[in-house]
C-alpha cells in the first residue's frame, strides 16, 4: 500500500498517535457504510476518497504547495470559497467530527463546550490532522461564541484570520459583510501574491455554483417515494464536498446523479416504500460524524434531507452570475452568504420557514432535530422550530448528543419510539 509516512512526517504530524486514527477508520467505515445493501455503484468514488482521506488529497495539497500555491482552511459555510479559489489557493473545510480529538481539545478548552469546537482545536494541537498541518492560513468567523473564543487559542498554534459575521440581517449588516469580504480579499491577495481579478472571481463564482447545482441535483433524487440512495451516503458526499478537488467532485457527483436518476426510472430503491422518511435539522455533522444517520437508518427509516451546514445550508441559493464588476460580484457574494439561515442570527425566522418548506419538499414523515451538546443557539431555537413544525402538522423530536458511544443505546430507543409513533 501507498506509504504516506514521509509526507505526514514532513507536515510535522504525530505519526504514532495518527496511526490510532488510521487503525479505527476502516472498521468504522465498514460498520457504517459497507454493510449497506444495494448501494449505488457511484459511491465507489466516495469510498475511494475516504480510503485516501489522509493520503492522496494531502499529496495533492503538497504538490500544490511545492508549486508555490497556498492552502486555506475554513470552519464554516459563511467563508466564501469563491475568493479562495479566485486567489489561486485551495480551500479545505476542516472537519472536527471525531471523538478522537476531544481529549486533546479539552487540554486547552473548557469541557462544557460543543464537541465540534473541542475537536477542531484538538485536531490541530494533537498534530493528527494532515489538513490542518497543510494550511498556510486558517480562516475563522464569528458565528458562535465557542468558536470565536477558540480561535484565540488556535491562533497560538497556527496563523488565523477571523471574519466578523454580523448577527442580524438589517441592510447595514449586509453592507458590513460586504466590507468583510473586501477585507478578506486583500488578506488572500497578500497571502498568495495573486490579484483577485474580476475575471478570476467570475470564474470561481461559476465553479462554486456548479458544485451547488450538483449537490442540489443529488438532493432532488431523494424527493421520490422510492429513495435511490441512503441518507448516510448523501451525508458522506456532502462532507467530502468540503475538501475534495471541486472540478473532480462536480464530475463524480453528477455521474452519481445520472445513476440515481436511472435508478428512479427503473424503480430501484434502498429502503422499503413503507420506511419512515426522516429529515434532520440542526447542527453540522463533520466527517466522520455519521452517528445519527446510522442510528436512524439502522432503525429502519431513511433520511431524505438535512437542513444543516453539511446539508442544504451549504448549497441552497446560488451567487448571482450576471455581475461583471468587482463591486457587483462582492455584493452578490455578500447577498448569497447572508441568506444562510444560521442560528447565530437574531431573529432567525428564515430557518423556521426553511425547515417547514424542506420537510414538505422532501416528503418527510418526521423531523429529527439534532443538537450537538452545548450548542446554545441551535438548542434555544428548537422552541420556535418545533412550534412551526407542529403548526404544519409535522412531528419532531429533539435529540442532543456528542461524538461518543456512551449514549447510542439510549438514542436508539428514543429514535425507535419516534419512528413507531410515525407509523
Amino acid at each position: 500500500m501507498a506509504d504516506y509516512r514521509d509526507l505526514w512526517s514532513n507536515l510535522g504530524m504525530d505519526l504514532e498517535k495518527h496511526d490510532l486514527l488510521c487503525e479505527a477508520l476502516p472498521q468504522l467505515y465498514g460498520g457504517v457504510y459497507l454493510i449497506q445493501e444495494n448501494r449505488p455503484e457511484g459511491m465507489n468514488y466516495y469510498n475511494f476518497v475516504v480510503s485516501e482521506v489522509h493520503g492522496l488529497r494531502i499529496k495533492e495539497l503538497d504538490d500544490h504547495k511545492k508549486a508555490g500555491g497556498k492552502v486555506v482552511g475554513t470552519f464554516c459555510v459563511f467563508v466564501p470559497d469563491e475568493l479562495i479559489i479566485a486567489a489561486g489557493a485551495i480551500g479545505v473545510g476542516l472537519c472536527g467530527g471525531s471523538q478522537f480529538w476531544i481529549e486533546d481539545g479539552e487540554k486547552v478548552l473548557p469541557r462544557n463546550l460543543c464537541p465540534l469546537v473541542k475537536a477542531i482545536v484538538g485536531a490541530k494541537i494533537s498534530g493528527t490532522c494532515p489538513y490542518f498541518q497543510s494550511c498556510d492560513l486558517l480562516t475563522g468567523e464569528t458565528t458562535c461564541d465557542g468558536k470565536k473564543k477558540a480561535y484565540e487559542v488556535l491562533g497560538e498554534y497556527a496563523p488565523i484570520y477571523v471574519m466578523d459575521l454580523p448577527q442580524m440581517k438589517r441592510d447595514k449588516d449586509y453592507k458590513k459583510w460586504e466590507e468583510e469580504i473586501y477585507e478578506y480579499k486583500a488578506v488572500l491577495e497578500e497571502l498568495t501574491g495573486n490579484k483577485i481579478t474580476e475575471e478570476k472571481l467570475s470564474e470561481a463564482i461559476k465553479l462554486c455554483n456548479r458544485k451547488r447545482a450538483a449537490l442540489q441535483r443529488l438532493y432532488n433524487a431523494r424527493k421520490v417515494l422510492n429513495v435511490p440512495i441512503s441518507g448516510k451516503d448523501v451525508l458522506l458526499v456532502s462532507q467530502i464536498a468540503f475538501y475534495d478537488n471541486p472540478e473532480r467532485f462536480i464530475e463524480m457527483t453528477n455521474k452519481l446523479c445520472d445513476e440515481l436518476e436511472d435508478r428512479i426510472k427503473k424503480g430501484i430503491g434502498v429502503a422499503s416504500e413503507k420506511s419512515p422518511r426522516i429529515m434532520i435539522t440542526g447542527t453540522p455533522m463533520a466527517i466522520p460524524n455519521w452517528k445519527m444517520h446510522h442510528l436512524i437508518e439502522e432503525s429502519g427509516a431513511v433520511v431524505v434531507c438535512e437542513e444543516t451546514c453539511t446539508g442544504t445550508r451549504y448549497f441552497e441559493n446560488e451567487v448571482d452570475e450576471t455581475q461583471t464588476t468587482m463591486e457587483g460580484m462582492i455584493k452578490a457574494l455578500a447577498d448569497r452568504y447572508m441568506n444562510i439561515n444560521c442560528a447565530c442570527f437574531t431573529p432567525n425566522k428564515g430557518r423556521e420557514e426553511d425547515v417547514v418548506r424542506l420537510a414538505k419538499e422532501y416528503g418527510a414523515d418526521g423531523v429529527v432535530y439534532c443538537n450537538l451538546q452545548f450548542c446554545h443557539t441551535y438548542n434555544i431555537e428548537y422552541r420556535q422550530v418545533e412550534k412551526a413544525l407542529k403548526e404544519a402538522g409535522i412531528p419532531v423530536v429533539f435529540i442532543e448528543t456528542d461524538y461518543s458511544n456512551d449514549d447510542t443505546g439510549q438514542l436508539q430507543t428514543r429514535i425507535e419510539a419516534f419512528l413507531e409513533m410515525l407509523k
Binding site: 500500500m1 501507498a2 506509504d3 468504522l28 465498514g30 459497507l34 480510503s51 493520503g55 446510522h294
Partner: protein
C-alpha cells in the same frame, strides 16, 4: 460484515485505479474500501471483490501488468459499530 471477504491490495493508488477502470469495463462487481488493518498497516485503498470472479480478475491483472500486493481474504465477526 460477516463471513469471508476478499481483497486486492496495491503498492499505490494508481495501480488500484487502473484495475478499477478495467473491472468497470468488464462489468465485474467490486467495491473500493479502506484497507483493513488486519491486512496492511498502511492506510489507503484496496478493492473488495466477489470470490466467484477471482480467476477472471487474476487474468485481467496479469494481462495488463497491474502490480498488486496480493489477493487476500479475511474472516470478520460482526462487531458493534464504534464511533470515533
Amino acid at each position: 460484515m460477516e463471513g469471508e471477504s476478499f481483497y486486492i491490495l496495491f503498492p499505490n493508488v494508481t495501480e488500484g485505479l487502473k484495475l478499477e477502470k478495467l473491472l468497470k469495463k468488464e462489468a465485474i462487481k467490486y467495491t473500493i474500501v479502506p484497507t483493513p488493518r488486519e491486512l496492511s498497516k498502511s492506510c489507503g485503498i484496496c478493492i473488495m471483490y466477489e470470490f466467484r470472479d477471482e480467476s477472471l480478475i487474476k487474468r485481467i491483472v496479469e494481462e495488463h501488468g497491474i502490480r498488486t500486493e496480493g489477493f487476500k481474504s479475511l474472516t470478520k465477526r460482526k462487531a458493534a459499530v464504534k464511533f470515533i
